[in-house]
Symmetry: C2
Subunit: 253 residues, 2 copies
Amino acid sequence: MDAQNQQPLNKIMMNVNGLKQACSSCSLRELCLPIGLEASDMDRLDRLVTRRKHMQRGEHVFRVGAPFQFLFAIRTGFFKTYELQEDGQEHITGFHMAGEIIGMDAISTDHNTCNAVALEDSELCEIPFPQLEGLCREIPALQHQFHKLMSREIIRDHGIMMLLGGMRAEERLAAFLLNLSQRYAARGYSATEFHLRMTRAEIGHYLGMKLETVSRTLTKFQEQGLLTVNNKHVELQDLVRLHQVMNREESAL
Amino acid sequence: MDAQNQQPLNKIMMNVNGLKQACSSCSLRELCLPIGLEASDMDRLDRLVTRRKHMQRGEHVFRVGAPFQFLFAIRTGFFKTYELQEDGQEHITGFHMAGEIIGMDAISTDHNTCNAVALEDSELCEIPFPQLEGLCREIPALQHQFHKLMSREIIRDHGIMMLLGGMRAEERLAAFLLNLSQRYAARGYSATEFHLRMTRAEIGHYLGMKLETVSRTLTKFQEQGLLTVNNKHVELQDLVRLHQVMNREESAL
DNA sequence: TATTTACATTGATCCTGATCAATAGAGTGA
DNA sequence: TCACTCTATTGATCAGGATCAATGTAAATA
């Protein structure tokens, strides 16, 4: 049944049922839900996460108000979650990459409270939530790991709140770049060179500043030799000083 | 060793074991963890939440780095959770009142990532977390309710992020007051008249603005007939227009 | 009750980042 | 390949809110 007769079969399988690719063999298992699970337990999780969903750039995973059924683990790709303010202005609550789980906001009300959209072609693992809760009741390690993930989300949000409430534009942008850097590094990519998947406006919507300020600040960083930017391509050239900028240390000036 | 020959027995009991007051008879059971539990299940939760802790104004529940053992449900009183930025500046991540649960940030790393302090004399229910996870494995309704509470915390944080990232000072303060109003109302208190438990500086640290701006904006609201302030005492006089201010609607001006 | 300390208000000035606007470059589709 | 659209850069100006500073008021402590 597996990848036997070449292209045909598995291609079809993939589209119809999703490609069967176990958590146990997923390169992200050290970042995702399976952390700390024994082989037998991981099998049970595998059986639960049957479907993989291919998302095209610009495609929505869910929208505000959608009935809640699944959590989504990101296998590959890049997403943003966002809400619209009363005046229609977009506010981005997070950028999400492989190994992260989105949709947890919906648990509380049984409806999504934000929108999630792919910023590049991506793949998701669909996790049926009632079944996940069921499995959590049987596998303490999974239960605890799930609680940790929700808690981590809370901590992450607190970090953003501090950033928005207490930092100025330069500091925010430095923090943002360093955060991306660190997350790419954790996934085995370069910590110093990467492509921004989002526009300047989106960075602004996330960091609470205007796109012009994002652009200007990037230019300024470049002039100071902290990095080079070329459209979406960024190369961080001085992580130390970038940290100093983030922390408002004199020495960075 | 305690204050023994004085304030009789029940005082001693209270200090040693905490006063035995069941979740089932708690006036907050419709806001807190027991929502939706059957009587028999509530008993089991009762047995888990044995200790009540009396907190004096200014006393800390936990501090950054403290090893994680308990979640805390607020029975009475008022708390703030805060973190300190690199430069020592305080950032407040939340104000918390009766029926709310604090400490969930610590699940992820087994250590608290923020500080929690009582802003007035208060009472807490101490919930031993490993035991709570155990009970969640046995009582699906409790499990789901706990997940809902964590999810609600995430939604709450997203709201603050939008506020900090997309609103101006006036709007933030209006949103803050209306949020307090709504939460007091949900607890059976007046929606229009209440005491602020926190200083102007603390409001500022929460809303990402300076205490002078908080003060000025309150004065402005008062001049516009939206409310009256007298130190910590606030009376909201026009909830409708306050909403309009929050949403930046023309008609409010 | 007096004294001290913490908290709040108000004014004057300055600066960061928003806004308005024009141009240029990159990506996309016919 | 061209045309169109989306995205990014840069400049000029403006305003919201920070900062500095002084005074007033409430609350805690001796």
